[in-house]
């Protein structure tokens, strides 16, 4: 039996066998096609300018990678964004609290909102799908209660973060912040004890618990992370748009989840990389920018986003089946000899 195991059965090179490589290839193709039709795609300043539109989704996708790898889902992230944005704006504009400390308070508020999700999921063992579906409505509803249908404008010094570039470069602040955090979270997910626990939990939560992984704490942590990153995204969004509204980022959780799943993460948990999510985010950005240039209306783009999410998962399934098939073929030839 040992000889069977000892026989190599890898028929595809290892680097090709990762889901991220497909995402990367798609990104190259999408970029190439876009550039061929729209010359502006080769203008770095234009691209960097457009990138800011996607950094809010990007930040939430970084944290969502942890949530999904841990075997959960957070449908409430976009609602947390809206609630944090409206709360901060309300505190500043209506109650006169200085804005600077509020910017630092925002992540704490996000942590609290995410923590509520996490505690309910971890302590009561309820499916995160239902819990975050409820808080998705709840948090968005509270945002609406706070501001109603009004927009609250923020002071001029606070707005326009996407037009601020890092000194001496063309790189806008949101992009730099996103890339920096992506590197940091990539290290956390793939190099630390916490990341290992996240993977273990997503692979088999029961086995992880039996092996001394503090499953409840890890669960709460990933939801808190999701809340904190949504809050950061909220700050960037209200700065970029100059106003806070309850319907900011409405439906954006769809894009966030699409990015993570398109990046090769398994919706069942246990598989996924930060690199994959980042690549997938840029793929979405290129596709949506391309559609924008081609004059496809924003409302119509929902169809493309939804289809993309489904295609991403279907592709993942085919990919898994293909791997299983090559594995079983290898196995067949081994025992036959």
């Amino acid at each position: 039996m040992n000889e069977v195991l000892a026989t190599g059965r890898r028929t595809v090179p290892r680097w090709m066998a990762t889901p991220e490589s497909i995402t990367a290839a798609l990104l190259v193709v999408a970029f190439g096609v876009s550039a061929a039709f729209v010359p502006r795609f080769l203008d770095a300043a234009y691209l960097l300018d457009r990138s800011s539109l996607y950094m809010e989704v990007g930040l939430m996708a970084l944290a969502m990678t942890f949530v999904i790898v841990a075997g959960h889902i957070d449908l409430s992230c976009a609602s947390i964004l809206a609630l944090v944005g409206t709360s901060i704006a309300t505190l500043h504009v209506k109650l006169g609290v200085p804005l600077l400390p509020l910017v630092f308070l925002a992540p704490l508020l996000g942590a609290l909102l995410g923590g509520i999700n996490g505690v309910i999921v971890a302590q009561l063992g309820l499916p995160s799908l239902v819990v975050t579906l409820a808080t998705m409505a709840l948090y968005r509803g509270l945002a609406q209660v706070l501001l109603g249908d009004h927009s609250v404008s923020l002071p001029a010094w606070f707005t326009g973060i996407e037009r601020v570039a890092i000194a001496g470069t063309l790189l806008p602040v949101p992009l730099v912040l996103f890339l920096g955090l992506a590197v940091a979270l990539g290290l956390v997910l793939h190099k630390t004890v916490f990341g290992t626990w996240v993977f273990a939990m997503g692979t088999n939560a029961e086995a992880a618990r039996y092996s001394g992984v503090p499953v409840a704490q890890v669960t709460i942590s990933v939801f808190v992370m999701s809340g904190v990153f949504s809050a950061m995204a909220a700050m960037i969004m209200i700065s970029r748009l100059g106003v806070a509204r309850y319907d900011h980022a409405l439906g954006l959780e769809l894009d966030v989840i699409t990015a993570v799943v398109l990046g090769g993460a398994s919706i069942f948990g246990g598989r996924g990389t930060v690199t994959g999510s980042v690549l997938a985010l840029f793929l979405i950005a290129v596709l949506q920018t391309g559609m924008g240039v081609a004059n496809v209306k924003a409302e119509y783009q929902a169809t493309a986003s939804g289809a993309l999410l489904i295609v991403a998962v279907l592709m993942g399934n085919c990919f898994a089946r293909f791997r299983k098939w090559t594995a079983s073929k290898g196995e067949g030839s081994c025992s036959g000899s």
Binding site: I120, L126, A134, L138, F268, E299, A302, V313, L314, N317
Partner: protein, 324 residues
């Protein structure tokens, strides 16, 4: 004890109690609540929800979820509106068939992805939630269908009933028929029982020879079918069909009703009576908020809270029950 026709199980009692409590409190604060007009507005609010919730309930009984119901309802309702505007010749009944068939087709796409494509229900329906909503904008070109575009007969379904202009208009009758049909289907057909079995223990269901994929496919078709019917009822009830408004966020209300109605979020248990009661409760809350002059903004918060309270309550009951 013969429990064949026992419609109300123990789980429904708290929902019923909560409903009575809400009615009582609202009536105390605002006596206007106890008028025929309010009763009628509750009755008109519920039918849309009931037909969608029946399908959502069957999906959730199999441990699935369908968050695309609002978009399916939107697309079916929009198509019906456009068909009646551009080809009035098809008549309201033709339009109704069209809406239901379209809904079932959209549901079948979900069902194919989930049952045969192995796409998790939440991902598939989250995807089609976006995709179908985009299609609503595309087919309508962003233009709403106005009341004068629709035949008057359609609107009269929300006013006239089988007994003339009564408290029970046709849309309510449709909803009652949908609920009764679901009840009979779940109780007296093998497929109906298979739905419970799949949710209760999917692996055992497969090993016992239940066609799990086929039944899973079917529940999503039924969910689409209900949503399609709801789209038609929406056109009748509101007259105006706006691509951004129709069915938007309705998945939340439907899931709230199902969960509040006592369907387990882990699948396998729940009754039609409970879900109808859940619909009644949500309809009452929504109307009570209006009667009490509480801002519309509180609606979303309410649905979120209601889902949370219901699942936590069920969890609490479950642990107490197991300990006992």
């Amino acid at each position: 004890m013969n429990n064949r026709w026992r419609l109300v199980e123990v789980r429904e009692l708290p929902t019923l109690a909560l409903w009575v409590l809400i009615c009582a409190v609202t009536a105390l604060v605002q006596p206007k609540f106890l008028t025929a007009g309010v009763f009628r507005s509750i009755l008109l609010w519920i039918p849309l929800l009931v037909v969608v919730a029946m399908g959502e309930m069957m999906v959730m009984l199999t441990r699935g979820v369908d968050v695309s119901v609002g978009s399916m309802m939107g697309l079916a309702g929009m198509a019906v509106g456009i068909a009646l505007r551009d080809h009035p010749g098809i008549g309201v009944y033709g339009a109704m068939v069209l809406g239901i068939a379209l809904g079932a087709t959209l549901g079948a796409v979900n069902g194919l992805l989930i049952a045969y494509g192995n796409v998790p229900a939440i991902v598939a329906t989250l995807g089609t939630l976006g995709a179908y909503r985009g299609l609503v904008h595309i087919v309508s070109r962003g233009v709403q269908v106005d009341e004068y575009n629709l035949p008057r007969e359609l609107g009269r379904w929300s006013i006239d009933g089988p007994f003339g202009q009564t408290l029970v208009p046709w849309v309510v009758v449709f909803a009652i028929l949908a609920a009764a049909g679901t009840l009979l289907f779940l109780r007296f057909t093998r497929v109906g029982r298979d739905i419970y079995a799949i949710g209760g223990n999917p692996e055992a269901a497969w090993l016992r020879g239940i066609p799990v994929r086929r039944v899973t496919f079917l529940v999503y078709v039924l969910s689409g079918l209900g949503s399609g019917l709801a789209g038609v009822l929406y056109a009748s009830r509101f007259g105006t069909i706006n691509p951004a408004a129709i069915g938007s966020g309705f998945e939340l209300i439907a899931i709230s009703a199902v969960v509040v109605g006592g369907v387990s979020v882990f699948g396998g248990s729940g009754t039609v009576a409970g879900v109808v009661l859940g619909c009644l409760l949500l309809g009452t809350i929504s109307t009570a908020l209006t009667v009490l002059n509480i801002a519309d903004a509180w609606q979303g918060t309410t649905y979120g809270l209601v889902i949370l309270v219901a699942v936590i309550f069920d969890h609490w009951m479950g642990t107490r029950f197991r300990k006992a």
